[in-house]
């Protein structure tokens, strides 16, 4: 079992004819993902890595019976690409693109709320169910199959934590990179509830960071609604206020909202052990299991 994606997921890659799109479509296929089509306006009828390209996402999804899309298009066009996917038959949209204007994402989020679909990202590495499918740009080889669910706002930090888990033989059901932007689709609470309902997931790791209050809301949700144990990690303890730390969403506001301390405290109060180092996160997972 897993959440969001598995070996049966049929994927359309939006932007498959671009440099990034073509490269990562190839990587996804090499990993075993069912990439069944590409969608690029004006490029219908072409082929990339042996899969057909369609002019529209709906055209691709209908012809190839696809149920998920991966958005690998430049930031200026990415919000439109997400709207298109939300207006097509696919149920899951994974948006990798970094640098989408925040107001565009605000409109996307509004539309998303009017559908039953899942959006993961943007500004994220994607979703992987080890051994079955990866939708995005994660390095497949570091993941291994197991019973730990993983949720993270950051790409390389996820890889680091996975590395520590894998070193101890702790594999993953699914890893979800939810993205480092201020406004994202699937948030911690959404992802936690997916794992809570997955019988194969016996423990969950959530890697948060400074900015916003998603982690605090997740803590409340865990406290009130969850049985599956959760281990936490929060990046940005040393970040100064008012500075954007790489991710558009990773900023402690001038008034001091969104600090690591506040998140660590909220998680601690909800009974979630928060590691001081990635190694300690793996220790905590071992204990929880």
């Amino acid at each position: 079992m897993s959440v969001l994606v598995d070996e049966d997921t049929r994927v359309v890659v939006q932007g498959i004819t671009g440099g990034e799109g073509e490269f990562h479509a190839g990587q996804m296929m090499e990993y075993g993902t069912n990439v069944v089509a590409g969608a690029v306006p004006g490029r219908g009828g072409e082929e990339v890595h042996g899969v057909p390209v369609y002019d529209t996402v709906t055209g691709a999804a209908e012809a190839e019976n696809a149920d998920a899309s991966v958005v690998l298009v430049p930031p200026a066009f990415a919000a439109d690409a997400i709207f298109e996917a939300l207006d097509s038959p696919v149920d899951l949209v994974v948006a990798i693109t970094e640098g989408i204007p925040t107001q565009d994402m605000s409109r996307v989020k509004k539309r998303l709320g009017e559908t039953d679909k899942h959006l993961v990202g943007p500004n994220c590495p994607g979703v992987i169910t080890p051994g079955e499918a990866k939708l995005g740009i994660l390095p497949g080889n570091i993941f291994s199959s197991g019973n730990v669910g993983l949720i993270s706002r950051s790409g390389t930090l996820t890889y680091q934590v996975v590395d520590n888990l894998t070193d101890r033989g702790l594999g993953q059901t699914t890893a979800i990179g939810i993205g480092g932007d201020p406004i994202i689709g699937t948030d911690f609470v959404d992802a936690l509830s997916l794992f809570e309902d997955d019988p194969a997931t016996d423990a969950i790791v959530m890697c948060g960071e400074i900015g916003g209050s998603d982690e605090e809301e997740a803590a409340r949700y865990i406290d009130e609604n969850m049985d599956t144990p959760v281990a936490g990690f929060i990046a940005g303890r040393t970040a100064p206020a008012g500075k954007r730390m790489g991710h558009a969403g990773a900023i402690v506001s001038g008034s001091g909202a969104g600090t690591a301390e506040s998140k660590i405290e909220a998680l601690g109060d909800a009974g979630v052990p928060v590691g001081d180092t990635p190694e300690e996160v793996a220790d905590n997972v071992e204990e929880l299991l």
């Binding site: 409109r107 940005g236 303890r237 040393t238 100064p240 730390m245 790489g246 001081d276």
Partner: protein, 380 residues
């Protein structure tokens, strides 16, 4: 990107917002000319990106040539919280009877914008929010529709704005929201919005921050961006295309990916050291990029040691190692000790390839950070 007050006021005035007459000046003579053309009394206001300018002595009122000269002499060239004042805005002083606050920002938790009005203007709105949150009326706005007129009215009446000016204030709020939206702002704020004795409303200050990710479609605003004043290293990082933040410590940090670099900073602190910077070199590890990153941290005089933490994903560890090796060839001798730690795809191959004569190689993130902290003088 944050606009200066004079830039934001140009944008405001263009949109029909009532703003006082003003002129930008760079010398005492220019201040005097401006004051004469506007007519006394005038306010002389420092144009630097610093909050609380008034309290820090960056705003002076002048009622005569003599006072304008004094104000210009004291403000031009002054150091305001680390920024040298090079320009002032000379502005018609508004004779007000009341001060309001109006603002629009993105509520990231709600995922939609929020418009705000408060009758307690002219003071720090963050402290109003903390001490008397009921004094701020808030309206969340559906981003698909924009702000409805009734919402502007409701915010104004809820805030208890004087009925004589309510309709004008609602119209200012509507204009401000439209500007916020049209110009891809993350924040737009007027504090204070002044009310005069004859019930005129005037935007006496203007704050506008633009979403960096939207500058590509706001070319005229992008042109207003100036080289980061105050810190040469941050300007250099901009040139190299790095995400960089300077801190006060002495352990230089280079890594890939925002979360992992933040974690490396946190670990330096955890093991008793003090991080000197945040530097994310992004994906891949081309020799030129690595060399530029090393150049950046080496040119920070505070740095005593460097920890280089890279996680190879799609970019394999052996490629990364070759990039690092050829980057260090650009330096005759590394001026500061550099600890390298690679992880992820082909990390072991990578660590074998790394130039062990020039670099200290560590197997784990924790080990690498501890070693670098020691090289910088040990735990504080």
């Amino acid at each position: 990107m944050r606009l200066h007050e004079y830039q934001a006021k140009e944008v405001f005035a263009e949109a029909g917002m009532p703003t006082p007459e003003s002129v930008l000046a760079e010398s005492t003579d220019e201040v005097l000319d401006a004051a004469e053309s506007i007519g006394y009394p005038v306010a002389v206001k420092a144009q630097v990106h610093v909050g609380g300018r008034g309290k820090a002595g960056g705003i002076e009122l002048a009622e005569s040539d003599e006072e304008a000269r004094e104000a210009a002499d004291s403000i031009l060239g002054m150091d305001l919280k680390g920024y040298t004042v090079e320009r002032v805005l000379v502005e018609q002083a508004v004779d007000f009877v009341d001060e309001l606050y109006v603002g629009v920002t993105m509520d990231r938790g709600a995922g939609e914008p929020v418009a705000m009005v408060s009758s307690e203007g002219g003071v720090d709105i963050e402290s109003v929010a903390e001490e008397s949150p009921e004094a701020i009326a808030r309206e969340h706005v559906d981003p698909a529709f924009g702000m409805h007129h009734y919402q502007a009215n409701r915010a104004v009446y809820d805030a208890g704005v004087d009925r004589a000016v309510a309709s004008d204030v609602a119209s200012v709020l509507t204009t401000l929201f439209d500007l916020w939206e049209d110009r891809d702002a993350s924040e737009a704020e007027i504090n204070p919005l002044m009310i005069t004795g004859d019930d005129e409303v005037v935007a006496a200050d203007a704050v506008m921050n633009i979403d960096d990710d939207a500058l590509f479609r706001q070319p005229d605003l992008a042109e207003m961006e100036e080289a980061a004043a105050g810190d040469d290293l941050e300007a250099k990082a901009n040139e190299y295309g790095f995400d960089y933040v300077r801190l006060d410590g002495n352990v230089g940090i280079i890594g890939n990916g925002a979360g992992l670099v933040m974690t490396t900073l946190d670990l330096v602190d955890y093991y008793g050291g003090e991080p000197a910077n945040f530097l994310d070199i992004g994906g891949g590890a081309k020799a030129e990029r690595v060399a530029n990153a090393l150049d950046m941290v080496f040119s920070d005089d505070n740095v005593d040691s460097v920890v280089f933490n890279l996680f190879g994903g799609i970019t394999r560890g052996d490629e990364v190692a070759r990039g690092i090796n050829s980057a260090i060839e650009e330096f005759d001798e590394l001026p500061k000790p550099v600890v390298v730690r690679l992880a992820g795809t082909n990390a072991e191959e990578g660590m074998e390839i790394l130039n062990a004569d020039a670099l200290d190689i560590e197997q784990t993130l924790e080990g690498a950070v501890q070693r670098s902290v020691e090289q910088a003088g040990g735990a504080q």
